[in-house]
C-alpha cells in the first residue's frame, strides 16, 4: 500500500569512475560554501537592532493608572486565578484617608508580583481584569543575571505617572 506520494526511490547504484574521484564533488561543495560567503547574513544584532514584531505582540505587563494618575488595580485576584502559569501573586490592602489620589478604589494591591520566568504571555490576565488595570505591552522582558530579578514587583509593573505606556496599538 502506498502511504505517501512524497516517497523517493533511493538508488544504490555503483559510483562511476569520476564520482569515485570525489574531487568534482568537493569543488562543487567548495562552490556552494563560497557562494554563502557573499550572501546576506541572517544575524540580527540584537541589542542594537530589534527584529520587527507584529502589532499584537504580547510582551511584558503594565499596571495601568487612570486619567488622574490613580492605580486601577483593586487586588481582586481575578488575574491570578486566570493565570495558567500561576505567575501572579498579590496582597491586598485597604485605602486609607488621604490616599484617594493614589488608588481609584477603596482596596488596592499592596504588593503585586509577576514572575516573568513563569509567565507564558498568554494575555488571560488582561482578559480577566474587570478594572482595565493589567495589560500586556509590546515591550520585551529584559535579560537579567539573577533569577530573582525576573520577579517583577509594583516598582517595575506600575506605569510611571510621567511616562505613560500606550497599549492602544495592541488593542486595536
Amino acid at each position: 500500500m502506498k502511504l505517501t506520494n512524497r516517497s523517493v526511490v533511493v538508488s544504490k547504484k555503483e559510483l562511476t569512475w569520476s564520482e569515485k574521484l570525489y574531487l568534482p564533488a568537493i569543488t562543487q561543495g567548495l562552490g556552494i560554501t563560497i557562494s554563502h560567503f557573499f550572501k546576506k547574513k541572517a544575524t540580527v544584532q540584537y541589542p542594537e537592532v530589534e527584529k520587527p514584531r507584529t502589532e499584537i505582540w504580547r510582551g511584558r505587563h503594565v499596571l495601568k493608572r487612570d486619567e488622574e494618575g490613580r492605580e486601577n488595580c483593586t487586588a481582586c485576584g481575578l488575574c491570578a486565578v486566570a493565570c495558567p502559569a500561576e505567575a501572579i501573586t498579590m496582597e491586598a490592602a485597604e485605602r486609607m484617608k488621604g490616599e484617594e489620589h493614589l488608588y481609584r478604589e477603596e482596596k488596592y494591591a499592596a504588593t503585586y508580583e509577576i514572575n516573568m520566568l513563569r509567565c507564558i504571555f498568554c494575555g488571560l490576565c488582561e482578559e480577566a481584569c474587570p478594572k482595565d488595570a493589567i495589560y500586556l505591552t509590546d515591550r520585551l522582558v529584559s535579560p537579567e543575571y539573577d533569577r530573582q530579578d525576573f520577579i517583577y514587583g509594583k516598582n517595575k509593573l506600575v506605569e510611571k505617572i510621567d511616562d505613560r505606556i500606550d497599549i492602544v496599538p495592541r488593542k486595536k
Binding site: 568537493i26 561543495g29 560554501t33 560567503f37 550572501k39 547574513k41 541572517a42 544575524t43 544584532q45
Partner: protein
C-alpha cells in the same frame, strides 16, 4: 663585520617568531569569521572594531583559566607535550625563504633564517617530530580518550608523511635541489611547480591537511567520539599551546605549499618592472604572504565544507590511494625528465 650576520639572523628570527605567533593568533579570529561567513553569520564583532581584539580576549581568557594537571598524569611529560608541539611548529619556519634579499647599506640581508642545503629534508624531519608532542601529551594524560586521540594522530601522521615525502620528490627532481631557496629561485616568473606537478601538488595538499590534523582529517580530536582527543585533559594555556601550535602549523604548511608549488615570492613579471632592490624585496615579501594567506583561507574553506573522514577511510586513502599515486608521480616525473626533456 663578523657580528653583522649574527645580528641580522637574530633580528630575522625574532621578527619571524613574532609574525608566526601573530598570524596564528589572527588565524583563530579569521577561522571564526570565515566559519561565520560561510554559514551566513557575522562572527565575532564585539571585542574591538570588527571584533579585531578577539584573539587578545581569547588569550587572556586562556591565561585566566585554572591550570589542572590530572593526579595520575606523568607531570613532566604532560608539560613537555605542548612544548614540543609548539616548538616543532615554530622551528619549521627557519628554512622558509620569505622574500628576496634586502640591501642594507651594502650588506645583503637574506630573508631566510637558515639557507641549509637540505631544507626540504629538515622540514619533513621537524614536522614528524611534532607528532611526539601529541603522542606524549595524549599518553601522559592517563586518559583513554587522550590516548586514543594520540594514537590516531600519530598513525595518521605517519601514514600521510610517506605520501607527502614522495610527492615532494617530484618537485626535487625538477628543481635539482633540496634547498628551499633554490627551489623558489627555480620557479622564477611563471615556472611554478604547480604547472609541472599538479598531481604532486594535490597529494601534498591533502597530506598537509592530514599533517596539520585539520578537517577533514581532524580525527585526533573529533569531539563526537573522543571528547577532545589528545588534549582532553589539558586546560589553561597548555591547551592554548596545542590549539595555537595547530594554527602555526597551518601557517607554515601554507607557506611551504607556496614555496614548493606556487613560486614562493615570485610572481610573473617581477623582473620586468626594474625596481630598486629593496622595493622589489618588500614586494616579494608581500606577494609571498598574500599567497600564504590564500592557502590559510583555503584550509578554513575546506574545513567548513567537507565532513570528517571515517578512520578506515582515512587509512585507505593514505595507503591505498595517495601512496601509489605519489609513487606513480615520482616515476612519471623521472621518466618525463629523462626521455622527454
Amino acid at each position: 663585520m663578523e657580528w653583522l650576520p649574527l645580528i641580522d639572523k637574530s633580528v630575522l628570527i625574532l621578527i619571524i617568531f613574532l609574525i608566526s605567533l601573530g598570524i596564528a593568533a589572527y588565524s583563530t579570529y579569521a577561522e571564526r569569521k570565515v566559519a561565520a561567513f560561510l554559514q551566513d553569520r557575522i562572527g565575532p564583532n564585539r571585542a574591538g572594531p570588527f571584533g579585531l581584539l578577539q584573539p587578545i580576549a581569547d588569550g587572556v581568557k586562556m591565561f585566566m583559566k585554572e591550570e589542572i594537571i590530572p593526579s595520575a598524569a606523568d607531570k613532566f611529560l604532560f608539560m613537555l607535550g605542548p612544548c614540543i608541539f609548539m616548538m616543532t611548529a615554530l622551528m619549521t619556519s627557519a628554512v622558509i625563504p620569505w622574500g628576496k634579499p634586502l640591501d642594507i647599506g651594502g650588506y645583503q640581508m637574506n630573508l631566510q633564517v637558515a639557507d641549509i642545503n637540505i631544507g626540504v629534508l629538515y622540514i619533513v624531519a621537524t614536522a614528524s617530530v611534532g607528532v611526539y608532542g601529541i603522542m606524549l601529551g595524549g599518553w601522559a594524560s592517563n586518559n583513554k580518550f587522550s590516548l586514543l586521540g594520540a594514537v590516531r594522530a600519530s598513525s595518521q601522521m605517519i601514514s600521510y608523511e610517506l605520501a607527502m615525502g614522495l610527492s615532494i620528490i617530484g618537485v626535487l627532481l625538477i628543481s635539482n635541489s633540496l634547498s628551499l631557496s633554490d627551489i623558489v629561485k627555480g620557479q622564477e616568473g611563471f615556472h611554478w611547480n604547480i604547472i609541472y606537478q599538479p598531481l604532486g601538488f594535490l597529494i601534498f595538499l591533502i597530506c598537509a591537511f592530514a599533517e596539520c590534523n585539520r578537517a577533514p582529517f581532524d580525527l585526533a580530536e573529533c569531539e563526537t567520539e573522543l571528547v577532545g582527543g589528545y588534549h582532553t585533559e589539558y586546560s589553561s594555556m597548555k591547551l592554548g599551546m596545542f590549539l595555537f601550535a595547530e594554527y602555526v602549523n597551518m601557517f607554515i604548511s601554507s607557506a611551504l605549499i607556496v614555496c614548493l608549488f606556487f613560486g614562493g615570492y615570485n610572481f610573473p613579471g617581477i623582473d620586468n618592472l626594474d625596481l630598486p632592490q629593496n622595493i622589489a624585496s618588500i614586494i616579494s615579501v608581500v606577494i609571498f604572504f598574500a599567497k600564504t594567506f590564500f592557502f590559510i583561507f583555503f584550509f578554513m574553506w575546506i574545513r567548513w565544507t567537507i565532513p570528517r573522514f571515517r578512520y578506515d577511510q582515512l587509512m585507505k586513502l593514505g595507503w591505498q590511494i595517495l601512496l601509489p599515486l605519489s609513487i606513480f608521480n615520482v616515476v612519471a616525473t623521472a621518466a618525463w625528465l629523462t626521455f622527454v626533456k
